[in-house]
Symmetry: C2
Subunit: 423 residues, 2 copies
């Protein structure tokens, strides 16, 4: 890039990057899927070739992070090693081999006047990705955007800047060797926060922004963006154990939904137990015995002496930790009302053997993902068979739940005539 | 409605209306499609029953409009008569009988672990419609929203306020008699412009806003909205007459695309003529003879002495009138470049008998609707077989081109398990 970072203001910089990105996207969108796939395979190969450079850059990031006092968890998210880097390159190869939605005919109709009308999937255009410390996002997001024919403008966290630059350099070299303009995937050349602001305002230049990171980042992006945002702010996921739940399944599901990994957005944060469910005390004891702090409403507190009192705030809190709020509910109506009031619209689950309760829950819960008799931790594009995901969205338009390649496309209408004029 | 309009500020008013609307929507979304359809039929019947009241209210609007100096075109948009009102009621009946997208299974997958994963179409929620002088929008938009299981908050133009209130009163009475809460369709009870501002900012309360009206309205909505907007600002539609165009078809299509109705968004505004097309002069003469003013670039001016010179501005102007800009282009590359630079992304057309040129145009033009050998005036939900449309969108996300019932839905993921925990 020969864009003069130091001498331009953030709006000009973003406009320049967007223009280059959009030009590259026009080239990408004329390539075949096979050509886009082989460009991704050469990007994966370049990541492997540049292994030493990337790991050295990452070591510098880690050293700087240690010096500036990053927490152990942050350093762990930042750290790459041979295995993690191999996994990043493998993931790029996997995305390359996914079936593409681009070119798919969504609908086709031949009108009485002979017009043939099709809706065909096309790339969205230029996608902005704003993320924090995980350097793997650089390659993952780039691969998903490129596979779906989109260009990407990436802005990673300052703590990962050296790793991200090394990964982007390798990725871009791989793409170029396969005939894709390097500007198809651009990393913001400055860590100036004003450039993030300029991305958020760049309606018409950037078509969609996907924030990847903590709630602070997502909230800022959602508050300031004039560009459409695909994101979820919270994952306040509920599991409702219905009166007709199988106790064995319910107990296993509760422990798994909360404790398998407590820090992911699909982790259960609130457990609703029907007062008619016979093994409520055992259920809660299982979760506590697995190492979880439980905060209960008045009725739940009676189940186990180790339960702490919940405050009103608990019902609206995403702990992302080994903490669980538990409320007792009198039947499915009360469960549905609680979920309607407190769910963040991410993933909510019912455990029941009763088909009527199951149907009603599936129909009435208005979240992006509604599950029966399964762990909310399955809320993931890979588990849904989508191959990979760019993120999970809780908005109502365009795409919801796990968003993968299809969510990175839009469509256009193709109308083929033979000279028809409109009467 | 017992909402105290005079004593609340616009934000509180919109929040109150939205809360009532969302409650009604929850009821709607639990009804069957057959029940929603019969509610619409009873709304249509109520519109017919209230014929005299509605026409009297409209006569008052017309009288007020004449007194305040509305133009003839504006009065014509505002005016209802027995036939127009019958057509409005008939349109509600037609929408009632359209196939519903709600409940449609978009995809289904059974995972190796036994989870059955479906994506199912659901209503979006509460749709805001902001429109100008046409009172038919009150019933049309209400019917489309209700048929797709959505509630609507309508804000019509001040000049039509009496007509809109009478139509909404009849519509709501019809719905209520069929068991739908009247708040499913609410008309903003004040014409205070600050209430429009409050609608535009009501992210999380209103799920989507559709502006229906002139460019000034749409531009304001797009500039100020924090709620997602489905709209098109301009319809700068091109027709490119390729060297291999059939001259007979080309001449008929040009006249129809421009002159059938000059004031609609799908009307051609710019004609691109290939320098290798043999009947350029005849083509332009046909358009001029049909009563159109033609403004041409230097080469086009040589085709006919009646052509006026075009300025740079003409290529970016939506005339919505019997005016056409004409540019000569050397081949398809130049045509594609002109369209890429000046199209508003609404509808662009190629006229050609050459399959290669046709394919390339369909692939490379990035507009919501791309046509071959047909009049751009076909850009319409009814002509596309969608039954009716809420509007035409030129944005890239969610829905593009003519937006009908499907564009008023979103989806959720339903995951059915048998006790699966995630490893």
């Amino acid at each position: 890039m020969d864009i003069a970072v130091n001498t331009t203001n953030p709006e000009t910089l973003v406009a320049d990057l967007a223009r280059e990105g959009r030009k590259a996207q026009a080239v990408l969108s004329r390539m075949s899927d096979a050509d886009r796939a082989s460009a991704l395979h050469s990007a994966a190969a370049a990541l492997r070739e540049d292994r030493k450079t990337i790991l050295a850059a990452n070591a510098d990031d880690i050293a700087a992070g240690e010096a500036s006092g990053l927490t152990g968890a942050m350093l762990d998210r930042l750290r790459l090693d041979t295995d993690r880097l191999a996994a990043i390159a493998d993931a790029v190869d996997s995305v390359a081999d996914l079936p593409t939605p681009v070119g798919q005919v969504i609908s086709r109709d031949e009108r009485p006047n002979g017009l043939v009308i099709e809706r065909v999937r096309i790339p969205i255009g230029l996608i902005g990705i704003i993320y924090e410390s995980r350097p793997n996002v650089t390659a993952d997001a780039a691969a998903l955007c490129l596979k779906s024919g989109n260009a990407a403008l990436l802005r990673g966290g300052s703590e990962a800047v050296r790793s991200n630059r090394a990964i982007e350099a390798a990725f871009a070299r791989g793409l170029e060797s396969a005939g894709v303009p390097a500007a198809a995937i651009q990393l913001m050349p400055t860590q100036d926060r004003a450039a993030v602001g300029a991305m958020l305002k760049a309606a018409g230049l950037i078509d969609m922004i996907v924030p990847r990171g903590g709630k602070g980042l997502v909230a800022r992006v959602q508050a300031d963006a004039r560009v459409p945002v695909l994101a979820h702010l919270d994952g306040i996921c509920h599991t409702y154990v219905h009166s007709a739940a199988d106790p064995v399944k319910a107990r296993a599901l509760a422990v798994n939904a909360k404790m398998r990994r407590t820090g992911i957005c699909g982790a259960m944060e609130t457990l609703l137990i029907d007062t008619a469910f016979p093994e409520a005390a055992e259920l809660v004891a299982d979760v506590i015995d697995a190492g979880c702090e439980v905060r209960g409403d008045e009725r739940a507190q009676k189940l186990d002496s180790r339960i702490k009192p919940a405050t009103d705030e608990d019902w609206d809190t995403e702990y992302l930790d080994a903490i669980l709020s538990v409320a007792m509910v009198d039947g499915i109506d009360e469960a549905l009302a609680h979920i309607s009031a407190h769910s963040s619209g991410h993933t909510d689950v019912i455990v029941t053997e009763d088909a009527g309760a199951e149907d009603r829950f599936l129909k009435e819960v208005d979240s992006a993902i509604v599950m029966t008799n399964a762990s909310s931790q399955f809320a993931d594009g890979g588990e849904f068979g989508l191959g990979a995901e760019i993120g999970i969205a809780t908005g109502r338009l365009h795409a919801r739940g796990p968003v993968a390649l299809e969510g990175l496309t839009t469509y256009k209408w193709l109308v083929r005539g033979t000279g028809q004029t409109r009467p």
